[in-house]
C-alpha cells in the first residue's frame, strides 16, 4: 500500500514537473532546487521526531487507556479521550492501534472517535514536529485553536448517527 502511495505521489511530481518544463527549463530547475533544499533542511527534524516518538509511545503505559473510555463514561469519557488523543505521541500506527485496542477492550465508539479525531487534529507532538517547521506558527496555533471543539462534535454526531 505504501508503494501505491509513493507511486501516486511521484506521478503528481512528474506531472507537475512536466508542466514546469513546458514553461521553461529555468522554472523547472528553480522549483526542483527549492524543493530539494527544503527537503534537506527538514531531514534532521523529522529524523529526531520519528525515532523519538517511537520511544515515547513505547514508554507509555498502554493498559491505562481502555478503562477510561468505556461506553458508560459518557461526556467525561469524551473529554478524557480528547485529552488522551492530544497527548498521544507517535505516528498513525500508534494512534490508530491504541484506538482500535481501546475499542476492542470495551471503549465506547463515540469516545474512540473523539480520541482519534483529537489525535489526528492536534496531537501536540505533531504540531511541534510537523506543522510548526513547515508553516507560519501563528497559523498553526489558529488551526489548533479552532480544532478544539471538533472531537466533541464528532462524538456528538457519532451518537446521533447510529452505527451501522
Amino acid at each position: 500500500m505504501t508503494l501505491v502511495i509513493n507511486i501516486l505521489l511521484w506521478l503528481v511530481v512528474g506531472v507537475l514537473a512536466g508542466f514546469a518544463a513546458m514553461r521553461g527549463r529555468v522554472l523547472l530547475n528553480d522549483s526542483a532546487r527549492e524543493g530539494i533544499v527544503e527537503f534537506i533542511l527538514l531531514l534532521p527534524r523529522i529524523g529526531i521526531g520519528v525515532i523519538g516518538s517511537g520511544f515515547i509511545a513505547e514508554a507509555l503505559p498502554n493498559e491505562w487507556v481502555a478503562p477510561w473510555l468505556g461506553p458508560e463514561s459518557g461526556f467525561l469519557g469524551v473529554v478524557i479521550a480528547t485529552l488522551g488523543g492530544a497527548l498521544t505521541p507517535g505516528g498513525p500506527v500508534v494512534g490508530f492501534s491504541l484506538g482500535a485496542a481501546a475499542l476492542k477492550s470495551g471503549a465506547g465508539a463515540p469516545q474512540v472517535i473523539a480520541y482519534s479525531t483529537a489525535w489526528a487534529l492536534y496531537a501536540i507532538h505533531r504540531l511541534l514536529i510537523w506543522e510548526v517547521p513547515m508553516m507560519p506558527a501563528r497559523v498553526v496555533w489558529l488551526r489548533a485553536a479552532v480544532s478544539l471543539p471538533l472531537p466533541f462534535m464528532a462524538a456528538a454526531l457519532a451518537i446521533l448517527v447510529a452505527r451501522p
Binding site: N6, V12, L16, S31, G52, R138, L142, R143, L150, A158
Partner: protein
Amino acid sequence: MAFTAAATVYARDGREHFFTILIGDVTLFAEMLPKVLAGCLIGAFVTMLLPREMVARWVGHESGFTGLLIAAFFGFLLPGGPITIYPVAGAFLVMGADAGAVVAFIVSWTLIGYTRALVWELPFFGSDFVIWRIIEALPLPIIAGLLARIVVRAGFQYREKTQ
C-alpha cells in the same frame, strides 16, 4: 524528550528491546524519505505553477463559503502524509489563500483524506467503522474553516510581519 523516553525504554526493557524499536523507527524513517522529498517537490512546483490570482480567487479572503468547500475538497484529494500536506498548505498560504481555507484544507486532509483512511485506519478498525467515522467528520473541515475566519475577523493577525 526523545532522549528521556529512549533512556526509559532502555532501562526498563533492556538492550534488545531498545534496538528492536530503534531499528523499527529507522526503517520507518527511511521509508518516509521518498514521500518527504515528493512532498517538498510538490509544494515547490505548486508554488511556481499555480497563478497567484487563481489561488487568491478560489480560496482567498473573498472566496466565501465556496472557497472553504474547494479547500476541503483538495484536502480530501491530495495523497500523502503530514510531510506532504504541510508544505503544500504553506505554499497556498504564501500565494494568498486565507487562513480559513488553509484550516479547512488541513482538517479535511486529516479527517477525511482517503489515503490516510485506506493505509492506516482501515487495517485497524475495519471498513464499517471507518466509513461511519468519515460520515461524521464530513462537516468538520467547513466548521473549522468558518471558525478560523471568525477568529481572524475578530482581529487575529496570522501573517508574518514581513509580508
